[in-house]
């Protein structure tokens, strides 16, 4: 996902938030992973907004996408220029209303924003894991979140909300822990990566691994594979946009020049935009984390894992109510993929709503300000709160 964080147009914010940490899988325990490897100890960074009610029935878990972090809303410091990545959605009176709900967001395992990942120090060796970090899956991300939720003494989640790779985690949660989850809102997501999505991820990974500084993943004491990671990000950004959004945003407009200059610089605006995105990304993200998380997304296949190939069977244990949202111009996870999951949910008699939002901004539309998405989420959460009698509205 892209960075769209900016000042909130509505002017309200959840205020100052704190980055918190939860440590688990301390020796002799370890977190068992789907690859059959294990890891420990594990740290998970998280953020909470709002107040947990006495019945602990107003919990919403926000699941971030590929390059996100636990900082979903508010500011760490009054001097911060930017709020958390989903500040437009999470806050007082917003789509996910922190006056009503207790909202949690945790950084995924494998990432580089406070949770244990390849750039963390392996206590056994005293150096960074690098590529000795075990392979992780969407299921492993969910297991780490489950450990955090258990630690917070929460045994029921009112709603799981996530877009893209966050949506995959939401679906995985519903299948793994059907009795804990009252509802879920998977946004712009899929139940399995298509060949197209895997292909783009593989080109991005190859860009990182072809960077001479990558050094088989052991670069933390020297130069980093910045060029490779920037190119990987540029590829990602193409998939987050759409033909239409690129045409409207850039067309063939030139960057800071009136005519073609016949050189290999960024002559077109779209080139300059992608380079800018790539350069911004290397300041905050770890190349190895990018490799591991994109692999986890590629491995994701609910039907294969839980239904012997049948998506209907995969959802058969689910009990949650669903709101599935897709975007007309999303070519990374097109609407037909959302419709497939809706169909499987219907065949299981699940209570599912589906809306395809007409938006020209491609996959990233879920991160942009939209009254339509705000209203959908507000209405859906209100109905789930009412149905379960869990939150006084």
């Amino acid at each position: 996902m892209s960075e769209y964080i900016g000042q909130n147009p509505k002017g309200v914010s959840v205020g100052i938030v704190e980055k918190q940490f939860f440590n688990f899988a301390m020796p002799p325990d370890r977190l068992k992973l789907e690859s059959l490897a294990s890891i420990g100890p594990v740290t998970i960074a998280y953020e909470t907004c709002g107040t947990l009610n006495l019945e602990k029935s107003n919990v919403i878990l926000v699941l971030h996408a590929l390059s996100g972090d636990s900082h979903m809303a508010g500011y760490y410091d009054p001097k911060d220029t930017k709020p958390g990545w989903w500040d437009i959605m999470v806050g007082p009176g917003k789509g996910i209303d922190t006056d009503k709900y207790f909202v949690i967001c945790s950084n995924i395992i494998g990432s580089c924003a406070g949770s244990t990942g390849p750039s963390s120090i392996n206590p056994e060796t005293g150096t960074e894991y690098g590529t000795t970090f075990p392979h992780i899956t969407i299921g492993d991300m969910v297991e780490a979140q489950k450990a955090l939720i258990d630690h917070l003494n929460i045994n029921s989640i009112l709603s799981l909300i996530g877009g893209s790779v966050g949506g995959m985690q939401a679906l995985e949660w519903c299948v793994r822990y059907p009795d804990m989850i009252q509802s879920a809102i998977p946004l712009a997501t899929t139940t399995r990566h298509s060949a197209l999505a895997i292909a783009f991820n593989e080109v991005a990974r190859q860009a990182i691994m072809a960077d001479p500084n990558w050094n088989e993943g052991h670069y933390y004491s020297g130069k980093r594979p910045d060029m490779g990671l920037a190119i990987a990000r540029m590829i990602g950004h193409i998939t987050y946009l759409s033909d239409e959004s690129m045409r409207l945003k850039f067309g063939r407009k030139l960057q800071n020049r009136a005519a073609l200059s016949f050189e290999f610089g960024a002559e077109f605006q779209v080139e300059s935009y992608l380079q800018h995105q790539g350069n911004k990304f290397i300041e905050r993200f770890d190349a190895n984390s990018f490799l591991y998380i994109t692999k986890a997304a590629d491995y994701f296949d609910l039907a294969a894992q839980y239904g012997s190939g049948s998506l209907v069977k995969a959802f058969s244990k689910c009990r949650s109510k669903f709101l599935v949202v897709s975007y007309t111009s999303d070519w990374l996870y097109p609407t037909y993929q959302s419709k497939e999951m809706v169909k499987a949910m219907k065949k299981n008699g699940l209570d599912v709503s589906f809306c395809e939002i007409d938006a020209q901004w491609g996959h990233d539309a879920f991160l942009l300000p939209s009254d339509r998405l705000d209203n959908l989420i507000t209405g859906f959460l209100r109905s789930v709160s009412f149905d379960t009698g869990s939150v006084k509205i």
Binding site: K347, F354, S383
Partner: protein, 207 residues
């Protein structure tokens, strides 16, 4: 959802609502902004599902807390098992579908009973307009011109009764009604319904 209180229903929807048993499972086909389903959920505690093709209306439904799928009614009905619902309601949509018999068959497959309502093309105003102006009728109930109307399958109350024999379903209940301008109020028409009713509402079942 206490702050949301259903608006008073349109007269035709009130009649449909009165036929629906409490606690039942209801599928609304082309459910629009979900007024009827919302009322039934609040007042009769039904389990509701809607199908609506227009995004803006789908959003209105979800804002109300109605479960709704954005899509084509024929396609979306296919995924439901037989008798998944007690009622499938097709309110003022039959006259707009390309294959009405296919729609009725699907309704009778996914639900135990169906409710169908439509504007009556046998109404006296329709007949008079065609007879005296020689032009395709444009009425309050069917307000479009021939070239821009979505109502491609106009029918009368008598047509529907004949249709039941041809397609093979039973008419369990019927109401011929005449509504006032606001559509909030109306009355039953007992005398020559096919001539004086503006709308027909039918509860149908399997043969």
């Amino acid at each position: 959802m206490c702050p949301l209180i259903p608006d008073p229903l349109r007269y035709d929807l009130k009649i449909i609502a009165s036929w629906i048993a409490p606690e039942s499972k209801v599928l609304g086909l082309g459910c629009g902004e979900g007024d009827l389903l919302f009322w039934l959920k609040k007042e009769k505690n039904v389990q509701e599902r809607g199908i609506e093709i227009e995004e803006s209306k789908v959003i209105k439904c979800i804002e109300k807390g109605i479960s709704v799928l954005q899509g084509d009614i024929n396609e979306e009905m296919e995924d439901y098992p037989d008798n998944a619902f007690d009622y499938a309601i097709c309110s003022q949509t039959l006259q707009q579908v390309y294959q009405p018999s296919k729609l009725i068959h699907s309704m009778m497959r996914v639900a135990k009973m169906g409710v169908v309502s439509f504007p009556n093309f046998g109404h006296i105003k329709v007949r008079m307009q065609l007879a005296f102006t020689g032009c395709a009728p444009v009425t309050r109930e069917l307000p479009y011109s021939w070239h821009n109307t979505p109502n491609i399958r106009v029918l009368s109350l008598n047509d529907f009764e004949r249709f039941s024999d041809q397609v093979g379903f039973k008419i369990l209940k019927k109401a011929a009604i005449k509504t006032k301008t606001t559509n909030r109020q109306g009355k039953m028409v007992n005398f020559l319904p096919n001539l004086f009713a503006t709308y027909g509402i039918f509860l149908i079942g399997k043969e």
